[in-house]
């Protein structure tokens, strides 16, 4: 009896537990956040929580310099990371694929390590490497006569240093995605290119890259999603400092939520954060579909 009932409603029964989970853990919390964002709820304040309408949002965009700064910083970090990771990732993927040799498995294994390792642990290792006075990076730079840097401890170099760490961690993902994409490409265009006498760089530029474009685009989109909400490596190395110089949107929202306990104000930031990320992803997928059609 029951099994026949399940059969008839399979379409609804199978996904039901997941749907309940998503509603309880995602949809409801989001709705709750939107509601909170319209209040002045602060855990540490004795004042009663009141409905204050759009006040939080107005304050965010007109008065909160730290918020505006953190938004730009997030774009700076994301843009820098994306450019480096996509360029180097695609280049190294094409390089690795160019020749056949034994031991390619080992190359793939090593590429996997940075992205699988625990980000906080990785951040600690880089904190040691980039230590301005005792770190091995500055020591090596001095040995070869290059200028040294203060890396994570100076306001001007902290974001580039974080981009460096994130790129070390995630460029291999683009490399592996490129390799997977290259494995699916047809060989015919290359044969005719050889007949036409094209050199290696012409073939890469006119054949390989255009055919790889959809693959690279998805790789870049995945990186955008993760870079924009970067938290682990920043929070554990600089905590947003020195000063506020590495405070991205995620870090600032976290500070407002769990350090200042301004639940209402933080909620309005969460709503904006949510809107930016979802908006960008929808925009990219929409334009991609239109370009393909």
């Amino acid at each position: 009896m029951i099994s026949r009932w399940i059969d008839r409603h399979e379409k609804h029964i199978f996904p039901l537990p997941a749907v309940i989970f998503i509603i309880l853990m995602m949809v409801f919390p989001l709705g709750y956040t939107v509601w909170n964002s319209l209040t002045n709820w602060t855990l540490t304040s004795k004042a009663p929580t009141e409905f204050i309408g759009m006040t939080n949002y107005i304050e965010l965009f007109t008065k909160d310099e730290r918020f505006i700064q953190s938004v730009w910083r997030t774009f700076y970090f994301t843009g820098g990371s994306l450019i480096i990771q996509v360029t180097l990732g695609v280049a190294s993927g094409i390089l690795i694929d160019a020749k056949k040799y034994p031991g390619k498995r080992i190359v793939n294994s090593i590429l996997l390590l940075p992205m699988m390792a625990t980000p906080v642990a990785i951040a600690m290792v880089w904190l040691l490497i980039l230590e301005p006075t005792t770190g091995v990076m500055n020591y090596l730079l001095k040995q070869v006569g290059l200028p040294i840097s203060k890396w994570l401890s100076s306001t001007s170099t902290v974001i580039p240093s974080l981009i460096l760490i994130d790129s070390w961690e995630w460029t291999p993902l683009i490399t592996l995605i490129t390799l997977a994409g290259l494995a699916t490409l047809p060989t015919d265009p290359y044969e005719s290119a050889i007949v036409d006498g094209a050199n290696t760089f012409q073939t890469i530029w006119h054949i390989t890259l255009p055919m790889l474009r959809p693959t690279i685009a998805i790789g870049a989109l995945l990186r955008f999603i993760d870079c924009f909400k970067i938290f682990d490596i920043i929070y554990s190395t600089t905590g947003g400092g020195p000063g506020y110089s590495s405070e991205t949107l995620n870090i600032y929202t976290y500070q407002n939520s769990f350090y200042y306990f301004k639940f209402g104000y933080a909620s309005s930031m969460l709503v904006i954060f949510f809107a930016i990320v979802l908006g960008t992803v929808l925009f990219v997928t929409y334009t991609r579909k239109r370009l393909e059609v």
Binding site: S3, T33, A98, V120, V125, L222, D232
Partner: protein, 280 residues
């Protein structure tokens, strides 16, 4: 003349070949050396650690590991991490597999979009309301709240991975079983799932790893009793001045099991990490 040209061509090719392998070698050194440095430093005494140039054989010690396991009691944090990672992976699969199967069979695009949204949206958007909810329910610092929160990263990934996998199975499979009188639940459990083992293995490894590595959910929801390893290593630096040797030993202890797992199962891991970017 012709012979000379060929030999020149050959030398040129050989030079290119050497340059090529030098480039590959440099690439591997870049990605491998921070790990080697981490492991090496975990065996150094504090005084020797800050001395450069490195005296490779001087000041080697096991003290750092003793600190990690005896003083800091990392066994407890490892146990917590294993419970949370295994729990969130198990329940993620339990609700994610039937959902993915249904999405694949019935083309439920909206449902898959809804679940995948939780992969796209920054975790902190859920973290604050969940923290408030769990606080009200007196559930902060319990395995249940951590497992539920970690499932938010595991579940969308499982669906993202398994939906195309189920789509690639021949449709006749299910239909043949239904003709034979098997219920849809039976078909799913005894025919579809056994055929999906490679996909499930990939989903399991990656869901476990993501949970193991998760820092933000854990630092808020796990305060004392259920503290996981990424939070424990972070606390290593926040108390006193940084004990680099101990910190590197802790980093090694946390990352090594995951890295060994990744290398052993690399075929699955690569397929999982690059899934969705390549068609077919």
């Amino acid at each position: 003349m012709a012979a000379k040209k060929t030999s020149m061509y050959r030398t040129q090719r050989r030079i290119f070949s050497v340059l090529y392998f030098v480039a590959i070698f440099i690439l591997l050194v870049i990605f491998l050396s921070p790990f080697l440095w981490m492991v090496y430093c975990s065996f150094k005494t504090p005084i020797e650690l800050s001395k450069l140039p490195v005296n490779w054989l001087k000041g080697l010690t096991m003290d750092n590991y003793q600190k990690v396991f005896v003083q800091q009691n990392f066994f407890k944090f490892i146990k917590n991490s294993v419970i949370v990672a295994a729990g969130s992976t198990f329940f993620g699969l339990l609700i994610g597999l039937p959902a993915s199967y249904s999405i694949a069979r019935h083309g439920q695009k909206k449902l898959s979009m809804l679940i995948l949204t939780s992969r796209i949206v920054p975790g902190i958007t859920f973290l604050l309301p969940l923290y408030i909810m769990f606080r009200e329910l007196k559930m902060v610092d319990t395995y249940t709240s951590l497992i539920l929160a970690h499932m938010l990263t595991g579940l969308p990934f499982i669906v993202w991975l398994m939906t195309p996998f189920f789509e690639s199975l021949p449709k006749e499979l299910g239909e043949a079983a239904v003709v034979d009188g098997a219920s849809s639940l039976r078909t799913f459990v005894s025919i579809v799932l056994p055929l999906s083992v490679p996909g499930i293995v990939t989903a399991t490894i990656l869901s476990f790893t993501f949970s193991w590595n998760n820092f933000m959910f854990s630092i808020v929801l796990a305060t004392n009793r259920t503290r996981t390893v990424p939070v424990a290593i972070y606390n290593f630096i926040s108390y006193a001045s940084i004990d680099w040797g101990g910190l590197m030993a802790a980093a090694t202890v946390i990352t090594l099991p995951i890295l060994v797992l990744a290398v052993i199962t690399q075929r699955y891991v690569i397929r999982g990490m690059t899934a969705g970017a390549v068609k077919g």
